[in-house]
Amino acid sequence: MVDTSGSHSNPLAQSQGMTRRQVWGIAVLVIAAVLIWMVFAQWPDWLNSILISKKAFLSAILNGLTLAGLYFLVASGFTLVFGLMRNVNLAHGSLYLLGAYIGYEFAEWTGYWLIGVAAGFIILAVVGLVMQILVFRRLEGDDLRQTLVTIGISVVAADLMLAYWGGTTYQILTPGWLSGAIKLPVVTAVRSNGTEVFLVYPFYRLVVLLSAIVIGIGLWLLINRTRIGSMIRAGVDDRDMLSASGVNVHFVFAIVFALGAGLAGLAGVVGGSALSVAPGEDVRYLLASLVVVIVGGMGSITGAAIGALIIGLAEQIGLVYFPTYGVVLTFVIMVVTLAIRPHGIMGRSM
């Protein structure tokens, strides 16, 4: 009896674990099925009346995804730098804005948008390198001073940029092959005469989303599959130990900082083409990446991706369905995350 009960309890416990996983699996399947149905089915009237229209809903989702892509590009550099150096770089937004302006200048000068993008990345990577060598290396180990210095840099940079580029709103023109809208194979409505109305979406935004995914995968491969990546990961876990094992930590720091700054500059050009470039963008993107990184977990690329996804979707859905209180939504998400997981969704205690 005792034996049987003992042997019973074990499979029971196992099957409980299985059922829990199964429940999750079924939940995910159901949600996926509902989403697929929402994308491809023709909506009944009650659903249209709740969510304004299928077109509005799907556009909000797509916009949320592309905005998430942009946020991810900015926040990934931010989170990398923080993870490795414990340095909250509050000048990260200024790097974004500077990248956008430089991209604009180069695109105007050469006439090639791609050169603008490349210039935004390369020049900002150099700027990041200079910042790391001239400023942060001198203040190493003094986190508070480093952070305060970055605030100072961001204030000075904002005024210098305002002095040079003025307050005008710039728009980086995308080349012809990237602009315009395309029809997605999704029917949003059927007209009374039977013709189908397809969802129309700006092509450039899909490119933004795609490039964010590609860069995200690239970063993940860099960090998880390369030698420099393993150094970075080791540095995130234990900086001193990494240094003691013969790795030139300063070199790793410099690489990461340049990469982070370059990504911010790249995001500036890409974002400045999708939206626009104007003074004040620096603070906006700094705030966005702070929220993204806090929600996702400091120092984690996957966390930045998840955080960007949540914040991007929340912002767009909020904007369409409750515009007055939409702004609050992002911060509610942040507060809830901090209450439940103080280190963020993918974060670890430091």
Binding site: I52, S53, K55, A56, L58, S59, A60, N63, G64, L67, I151, G152, V155, D159, L162, G166, G167, T168, T169, Y170, Q171, L173, S179, G180, A181, A189, V197, V200, Y201, P202, Y204, R205, L275, S276, A278, P279, G280, R284, E315, Q316, I317, L319, V320, P323, T324, G326, V327
Partner: protein, 415 residues
Amino acid sequence: MNINRRTLLALALATGMSAPTLAVAQAESIKIGLLATFEGAFTVLGEDSERGAMTAVDEFGGKVAGKDIEIVKGSSDASPDSAVRAARKLVEQDGVKVLIGPLSGDEGIAIKDYAKTQPDVTFLNGSSAAQDTTLRDPASNFFRFSTDGAQWMAGLGDYAFNEKGYKTVATVAEDYSFPYTQVFGFMAEFCKAGGHVPSKSWVPIGNKDYSSVIAAIPDDVDAIYVALGGADAVNFLSQYNDAGGQAPLIGGSITVDQTVLTAKGRLHDVLVGTPAAGPTADTNDDPAWKEFSEAYKKQNGAFPSPSLFAHAYYINMKAALLGLQEVNGDVSDGGKKLREVLSGLEFETPTGKVSLDENRNAIADMFLTEVTEAGDGTLVNKLIKVTPQVNQTLGIPKDEFLALGAVSRENPSCP
């Protein structure tokens, strides 16, 4: 920005030693505070408003009643609290007795409330154009020689319905008092003419991504009324273009202002042909306007034509200077005499005669315009029609007008 200001404060304290010499200088000069948005999303607008104000100062040769005019600038970021902070600094630290500003709607209401606590200071509006800055619960020392956002819309609703033939219009506007006022002004006429507004979108100031808002606009409206300003307008318009937007646009006063028409980007196609109304028209061929336009262009970084912000700040600054001239620059009585003069002041502006009503809000001519391409490729607002001497109640008896209720997201409504 806080740090910025704190540093300034520290500097101000450090230079406190030189205060005696400054006091000597003060005897010869008249200090006028100039409050505008020199930071944030409305920076361009703030910069142009300064050009307008300085055009008036230059017109007086930098002197009034034999004393030098000393302009002390204060900067806000279009939020009411930053405006009040800047005004307090100008009034309580710099000691200005006359203050021109602010630029934007909610700021105006906040400054009006602040004005009540400073009865010895004379406040003249900048370009802020919310209705309730002067209509309900006004401050006795706050003067608005520029008009409000509902007045600016005079003629547009009629034109859209009768001339353009738009029967249904969706609105997209920023979520604060000035766009409420503009939408009110447009709908007052449009709904009366028989039009319908089935959908109104209110978006936060400084919003960048409008594509979701654009997608939520019903497909079956005849036109979209857009009341957004500065960078917001540029973002909306270029994204509307990218999304393949088909419906024609109707512009709020600041949506098709020079600050937007000169922005760098692909706005040209969506903007040409857009009707709008406001206190100025670029192609106005009145000699007074041309003269003003030429004087304005002497300012640094001026647009091809003065924006309505430059215009509003010019008018208010000019009113202040005319008033100061009349009282011989004497504000030692707490500005009482100056305010008496201002209340009765009536003068010719580049856009016609301006006088004040009993709430100290201007009565002035309004201009119905349409965006066209000028010979040199720049976009300008072509004058279509002038609506003479529009008052704050849009010609409706005051009791009846007040009964329509305060402007808000829901008021007015004609779905």
